[in-house]
Subunit: 449 residues, 2 copies
């Protein structure tokens, strides 16, 4: 195990990168960080480019990767897209989902993602009965993350209804545990590992009846684990919720005790001013997924206003139309520019924090996401010498990483002190594109090559 | 010179790709296209992935590449960004601009761009006097395109004023020829080559007084060459133009005879309904530059409405915050989704047409942009086996190219029947990132590595 690393430059949290940084690691932790070292120490592994804390993908539905590029032929909406997504959902088994998720998490590793939050609701057999092991699907995801060399927080999602006051649809039968208590009993059987933690999720106020929200919130609170929820991604959810309860989804979740510093609202696209105050004032995090929010025609959420109100910002690739956390990071700023017609809403370092330390905390890994002694030894090196990044200097490197680099510029990825990606090659999954192709074909009904 | 090419799949203009396509070329032209060939003919060069017509970048300011990643630290607007851009503009010489543009056009070639429209207004010495050769700067750009192996349309821009009714600023002295007739006389001395054509540009109604617009329009009409113009990128332009003339910029240009099928309005972001009718009804093209329009906080232009009104759509990377025509193509659809909250405004093949044949026509190369006998032998192959595109099938390949592939997935690029990029490597510029780094440092005042 390499114990000494020499980063040509490293981002230590400020507005600029630092040249010549020696990182020492042991037992999966960073043990020291020494800046300003002009010559690599003997035996140190050289990291060429800018070394950052590992990127954290706070919101993933791994199986959506199978839809990439396939949903653009016809007109439609979020809801017609969901029909296509459900067609894949019905085909997955624990084995095929393990293969697909391994390939998808390996793609994430190649993109510099060292920790992923999987918002998981495909719990049961297609017709709704439990697998012999009731957590077979969740455990397949846990194994996939291990096989792909990334950390995982399995956000086990309670999903009971097919809309407010509506039973689950046929496809949704495999999502539901029947009621929140049975969800809680099943989820309680999940066991963390060294690189996997367990969290909870309320799929949405569409999928969890108002009188059962507290059961999920209490489960997470008792265990002090993250509680994530889709929130107001589509206006239809707001309209339905107001009609049924007289409250916005945010207000309903607030009343149920589901907001707070361990909670994360995903999307939070269509909010009232009071919703923003409720989320920010309670310290509830927000996870923006801008490439998905573009793809699904959701709209642009009030990220700046939420952060100003007190919500920590994190990022997710969600449907995996794109897997590129740097693209998610810059999209937060760029979409805000489109809304406001002004530039400079987010210093680049703030966007990197969203993609690293804030994301790690949102997934229950507060000891990750920073290059400092005591932090988990998860880091990633971005090439400053590609056609995309060439011309950046130390002065402009943070801006270049956020606004010019892409996932294709990630060279080296270290997770838990171990090299997972080495010069752009995944060490554990030999041929990631082939693994993706085979797994996607398997679940979209095509013959693998 | 290779005369026979075997494309695993090729996009021949329809909604799907075609498997096993043999292209034959001679004298820089495609001489035959044979689909459905199951085995590569002996001696044919294999093109792995999807082969498309070469991508066409209709709107470029090559020197803006020097700013990539450097303009995001502070708050501001289009206008404060322009100050940073002007600081680079003042430093360029014919030699340094040749070096920078060669590197930038080489980056474009690596991204699959085979033809670029350079909207060029840096005509003179910094204090305003002519170079010994009055077209030294334009000729530097022509040489750069040749050296980088791409076609060029030099859109020589008339730029006379510093705003409506205002003289040029100190920086703008190098842009102006004094009046439109002197612009016309200088531009008339430019000579096309086999891979370079000459067009005209009205920088904007800010920069060309209303009574001189017709001189430029007539110059282009007499020669039957393209006439491009920045149009309503910022609302301030509209406000100033209305105040000074009582007309929108579009109406003013229409009255001056500057609209029509050889004209292209760039950006066209902030339009009235009547503007859209004037542009579409006259067959004026529109060139959208979505990554720049995000970056500069311009807003989202009415691309769909313009095309419905009759305007052909093309695409440009403009400020080169990003050089990726596929990203521009999908951004047109994705930004429309953000505005409308619905999906599917553009079939993927329509977006590929914008990036190929429509763009080529907009630059005065109507014989380019299609894989058919008689067309120019410009084509590009996109990898369908990268982590980004893996899983796409023949059925979904057009969608995958537009919505999942990036510039990093371009493998082979042929211009004028000649291989310019071979397996991701540029054959004429050995080390494109090094060339970019040196050239950017030269014009941003830093010491080259």
């Amino acid at each position: 195990m390499i114990a000494s690393w020499y980063a040509e430059t490293a981002w230590l949290g400020g507005p600029h990168v630092t040249a010549g940084v020696v990182l020492e690691t042991a037992g999966g932790r960073i043990t020291s960080v020494t800046p300003g070292v002009s010559v690599p120490p003997p035996g140190a592994r050289l990291l060429r480019g800018v070394t950052l804390p590992g990127l954290v993908n706070v919101h993933s539905h791994a199986f959506h990767r199978a839809l990439r590029g396939r949903t653009h032929a016809a007109q439609g909406s979020f809801w017609t897209w969901r029909e296509q997504m459900y067609a894949v959902a019905t085909r997955l088994t624990p084995d095929s989902y393990h293969r697909l998720a391994t390939a998808v998490y390996a793609e994430m590793a190649l993109a510099g993602i060292t920790c992923v939050g999987e918002f998981h609701y495909l719990h049961h057999q297609p017709e709704g009965s439990s697998y012999a092991d009731p957590n077979a699907m969740g455990e397949a995801l846990m194994a996939a993350a291990q096989d792909a060399g990334v950390r995982l927080t399995l956000l086990d999602a309670c999903y009971l209804a097919g809309g407010i006051g509506r039973p689950p649809s046929e496809t949704q039968l495999r999502f539901t545990d029947g009621d929140a208590q049975r969800w809680a009993d099943r989820a309680a059987q999940l066991r963390p590992t060294g690189t996997v933690r367990i969290g909870a999720a309320i799929h949405s106020v569409r999928a969890v009846p108002a009188d059962q929200l507290t059961t999920v919130a209490d489960w997470a609170a008792e265990r002090e684990v993250p509680l994530h929820m889709h929130l107001s991604e589509q206006e239809a959810e707001n309209i339905d919720c107001l009609a049924a309860t007289g409250r916005t989804p945010t207000a309903l979740l607030a009343e149920a005790g589901a907001l707070g510093p361990r909670s994360v609202a995903v999307h939070a696209t269509h909010l009232t001013d009071r919703d923003i105050v409720l989320l920010g004032g309670s310290g509830t995090g927000v996870c923006m997924c801008p490439t998905t929010e573009r793809d699904l025609a959701d709209g642009i959420g009030p990220a700046r206003a939420l952060v100003d109100a007190g919500s920590p910002l994190s990022l997710g690739s969600d449907s995996h139309a794109v897997i590129d956390l740097l693209e998610e990071a810059r999209a937060v700023e760029l979409d805000e520019r489109l809304l406001t017609r002004t530039r400079g809403h987010w210093p680049p370092a703030d966007l990197l924090r969203a993609a690293t330390s804030t994301g790690a905390a949102a997934l229950g890994w507060p000891e990750a996401g920073r290059l400092e002694a005591g932090a988990l030894a998860d880091f990633v090196t971005v090439d400053l010498g590609s056609v995309r990044t060439a011309g950046a200097d130390t002065d402009a490197a943070v801006g270049a990483v956020v606004f010019a680099a892409t996932a294709a510029d990630v060279r080296d990825v270290v997770v838990d002190g171990r090299i997972v990606v080495d010069g752009g090659r995944h060490r554990l999954v030999a041929d990631v594109p082939a693994a993706l192709t085979a797994a996607v074909h398997e679940v979209t009904g095509r013959v693998a090559a």
